[in-house]
Amino acid sequence: MTAKLEVRHLTKIFGRRIPRAEELLKAGKSKAEILKSAGATVGVNDANFEVNDGEIFVIMGLSGSGKSTMIRMINRLIEPTSGEVLIDGENLTSLNKKQLLDVRRNKMSMVFQNFALFPNRTIIDNTAYGLEIKGVDKDERLKKSHDALELVGLHGYDNQYPTQLSGGMQQRVGLARALANNSEILLMDEAFSALDPLNRKDMQDELLDLQENLHKTIVFISHDLNEALRIGDRIMIMKDGEIVQTGTPEEILTQPADDYVERFIEDVDRTKVLTASNVMIRPTFVNIDKDGPRIAMRRMVENEISSVYVVNNQREFIGVVDASHVMSLIKKKERKLDSVIQKNVPTTSPDTPITDIMDTISSTPIPYAVVDDQNHLLGIIIRGAVLGAISGNEVGEDE
């Protein structure tokens, strides 16, 4: 993975006596102290992070945490007080006016919380705005805009005005406007926050679908942790202008950096982010090509369980045998397990969210087998582990 976007020591101070405020900040004074003695507000303090090519990077925080200031410093809608923003290694903060326009025109596009569509322009002209600014000729920009609108699922609204569309549709236009520009970086400022919950979920799905094909580098601002966990490849949590923690959704959930993050994740619906691989445990298994009924029995006795999973030499999953059947084989002095293998075991992939398998887990007695695409047995999911994970306890083998 290469870093598409790098932010180094980025700081923003609002107010008049900025040099004084910077000194105080360097001396380690708190935001409140700086406001009191210099009359300046620290928006963002010494932020450092990287966004990789093709990832969705969610900047998460409550209002006043500096996340909006942060995203606006990336395209310099707000001028940073100090620090650097690098895109493909090029430092944005040192660009002159014209170079900055070029970067804004070609490298990144922004999607806004309240859509920010131009009310005097039709949907197609709104979508074409970025191209129009760049001087793309009319036929080409209309074609590209039309394609972008199709991409976000808006057919036949080309000549309507924004006020004639619902909120969800308007934000699709906002997204299409950004996509039409074909820039590699999308800056999405609370893009779905103004939508109702159902529309928001649709748009999140839509964004994930689009991202599968487009592989944009997306910086997404959100105040909603569920949204962040749902769409983010990585999440950065901000508080009072400072970065509290950066990590994958799993890292955030399993290793919260401090009390603040912990309080945040307390009320997250864990079933939405935990996948089968998070809750699976190591299975006890026998190799059908090698082991007979006696070995299978021994494994069960050793582990105090009543059934054991069966794989072949390539560790491909075959099925499960239970103790009573194995006992009868031993009595009949059989050497092979083949005749008693139950093959109707539910299987799932390691990436499946737990929500999708919850119902089956609670209704079938046999634990799920987790297999990869080559059908190799990776682990099994037992009911207790799922419940433990949802309730926030450590997932361990002993459950």
Partner: protein
């Protein structure tokens, strides 16, 4: 109190006016330029037969209101213009119209850029606001005195005085319109890499248009209110008729001409408002 000497404000201003008078060449050029515009309008109006003029006004109203037929307005226009013709005020009406159109045009050409500048610069706005207040509240008669000194008598000083008095609404409303454009739309325009000019012509002005046009409409109405005052320095037209009626204590003649001004005002107001009516559907 009597010990404090009176400030020689009037002599200062006299000196200033005298000093300005030394730029005679400049004022002559302005006089000729404005005179040219006035003559142009007047030439067109004199050329138009009355029936064609009426047809143009009615046609214009009909076309601008084609979605929401305004038959009463069209009826009023026909009756009103016939009244003016019937009273023998036709040429006076066209002269007044020339004065109003010329001063509105100049107010528009000067006022809109100033308004845009104010909308974009906090400093310029702060400097300009008291000047605009001054222009609007200073009794309009006062402008006549230097106007005569620089531009002689006739239509031109009338236009100049009207412009000074009528321009502030255009400037103010343009400023307001530019400032009222929602911040996120400005951010959107910036984030896609618009230059200042692109932002102005593609986003700010189109969105400020209806506010701006309301200002133009106000300027037009204010310059119409100047016609009687302008007639004191020799501007021809309906104002002149009213002014004479005042001098002769002729209530009937005064009202007859005053009514013509009212009719003209209503027609101008309704037409400019119709131009302003937004074509963007409301949700």
């Amino acid at each position: 109190m009597n010990n404090i000497p009176q400030l020689p404000v009037s002599s200062w201003i006299d000196k200033f006016v005298d000093w300005l008078a030394s730029f005679e060449g400049f004022f002559n050029a302005v006089t000729n330029f404005i005179g040219g515009i006035i003559n142009g309008f007047q030439w067109i109006f004199d050329l138009l037969p009355i029936w064609l003029f009426m047809l143009l006004v009615v046609g214009c109203t009909y076309w601008l209101n084609r979605k929401t037929k305004h038959w009463t307005l069209i009826g009023f226009e026909i009756v009103g213009l016939l009244y003016i013709w019937n009273q023998g005020f036709w040429r006076d009406m066209t002269q007044t119209l020339t004065l109003v159109l010329t001063s509105s045009l100049i107010a528009l050409v000067i006022g809109v850029p100033l308004g845009i500048w104010m909308g974009k610069s906090k400093v310029f706005e702060t400097i300009n606001k008291p000047i605009l207040d001054f222009m609007q509240t200073m009794p309009a008669f006062v402008y006549l005195i230097p106007a005569v000194a620089f531009f002689g008598i006739g239509m031109v000083p009338g236009v100049i005085a009207s412009v000074i008095f009528a321009m502030p609404p255009t400037i103010r409303m343009t400023n307001l319109g530019i400032r009222q454009v929602p911040a996120d739309l400005i951010e959107a325009a910036d984030s896609y890499g618009s230059t200042s000019w692109q932002k102005l012509f593609k986003v700010q002005l189109p969105l400020a248009k209806s506010t701006l046009m309301a200002g133009v409409n106000q300027s037009m109405m204010l310059s119409l209110s100047m016609v009687v005052i302008a007639s004191m320095i020799g501007a021809m037209g309906l104002g002149n008729k009213v002014y004479f009626a005042v001098g002769r204590n002729d209530a009937g003649g005064g009202f007859a001409a005053g009514l013509a001004i009212v009719i003209l005002a209503i027609i101008l107001d309704r037409i400019t408002q119709a131009i302003n009516r937004s074509k963007i559907p409301k949700s």
